[in-house]
Amino acid sequence: MDWVNAILQGTLLGGLYALFAAGLSLIFGVMRLVNIAHGDLIVLAAYLGLTASTALGLHPLVALVLVVPAMFAIGYVLQRGILNRTMGDDILPPLLVTFGLSIIIQNGLLTVYTADPQKLQAGNLETASLSAGGLTVGVLPLIVFITAVAIIGALQWMFYHTALGRAFRATSDRQDIAQLMGLNRAHVFGLAMGLSLAVTAVAGIFLGIRTSFDPAVGGSRLIFGFEAVIIGGLGNLWGTLAGGIVLGVSQALGGQIHPSLQILSGHIVFLVILAVRPRGLFPKMEG
């Protein structure tokens, strides 16, 4: 029963990883950009949620109403102000610029919030649980998982059924032709990054409610999200959800063997999948 429980908890944890990953997957799909600062932006969102809930006395989930638009705005401005200047055939500039951003965000958070671990207080929600057939499921992990499925479903729908999604797909296929057809590439990229960070905001708030966080934890969040993207296969949002679940279950099973093996077993499963299926489980797009 312990093992069944580990798989169940791992699956729910996978929802959080899919949320880490969805933003990465989105901007890679639209503009082939990999944002090294992604994990630090997740942590930034958690801290924005902290400020909103302590300063205004809001429940962290209500704080989403403020944090999501704030992160969207940060993403749009970041893309148009800095990252658009680095877009081109050379992968070095965006990589190194987002790397620099990661260091700036990390140390900026250290300056403002210190290195003390923080947590978002969500009251009863943190401990509430449902039991059925000998298994117990936390309400919060369940909410996180359902939100992840809903967000990925919404992104998928947006991609294939809206004008914005058409603009994203067109720019993804051929940037120059999309520009000729009257799409403003700089604006489309800005919207993609804004949307990516809006998803990141949700991920950050959930992260902050689930566990304590400090300014240094961004790196491993980026790695978990990245592993979910690669396991699932590039350019496939549902694949990313599957990748998150595979990663979450691997970690939970490893943790069941020995607590110190939790993170390591996730990495090892990722490397094994990379060795046997280098394009991931459900690839849709060339790297």
Binding site: I36, I82, L96, T111, S260, L264, P278
Partner: protein
Amino acid sequence: MQVTRTSPLSQGAMMIGLLLLIGLVAAPWWAGRADLRLLGEIFLYASLATLWNLLAGYAGLVSVGQQAYVGLGGYAFFALTMLFGVPIYLALPIAAVAGAIISAPVAALIFRLRGAYFAIGTWVIAEVFRLVAAQIPALGGGSGASLPADIVKTLADGRDAREAVAYWLALGIAVAVLAAAFVVLRSRQGIALMAIRDNELAARSLGIDIWRTKFVTYVMVGGLTTLVGALIFLQKLRISPEAAFSANDWTAFVIFIVVIGGIGTLEGPILGTLIFFALRETMADLGTVYLIALGAVAIAVMLFAPAGLWGLIRAKTGAELFPLSFRVVGLAARQATSSKD
């Protein structure tokens, strides 16, 4: 008219470099203990920067996980000397070979990731190494270990002598790494690397085996970075997973050094190292603000002067201290004669 690589400037730089080297070899006689340690650290950072530059600036392999090999070197060195009783001077080359051997399957695996995803893949490898190191109880597990005094004493007799030897080892590796980079870049391998960097498709159509060229570079850099790591922790005398696999210390700083100094040039990492230490010695008290400033400067350089400081200097003056590129001499004289015809 003839084609040559050397110029009066590069010949002069070679002479000055030799004089400088002689002065640096003699440093234990003219520098204090603190200065000696600082110089040693500068050499080790210059080595790391030169090696990272070979990967990112020449082979197009942007790694953000070179701390994997620095930490591996430290741990291999501690394990060899503490657990297996290998003498220090033998443990260093063994660590380097071990690093090269381990980097080969790692390369085979992460070369499957392209471009920016390759970068994050290297980070995963470093995390795996760190988590594995924390699982070794004989080396202190998560809290780390110190090199026992009786092993340290086998380095040389007396503290001053030991400081001097550690310093010479650091100077030696810096010279060796720079020489290796120079020789590689002047060889067929180096020309292939620069061709790949400039245009991968064109390089492939000329028959260059891209995978093999990158693989050889990665393994060579892996082995040498492991050796530098072993020397870093020989100087520190204490190791822990957090310190050995620190992404900030062994990758972030190194990337800033190379980007600010000038990526894709041999001179850039050296210039960058000097700037980095000048800033650190004067501004490190500022703590996080210093790091924020360093990040901002790196971004500004990447946006407005992607070739870095040395790139700016070279664009203005054509200066090249390490003769790598070919230049045509005697062209002006020939044109002058032909215009008379």
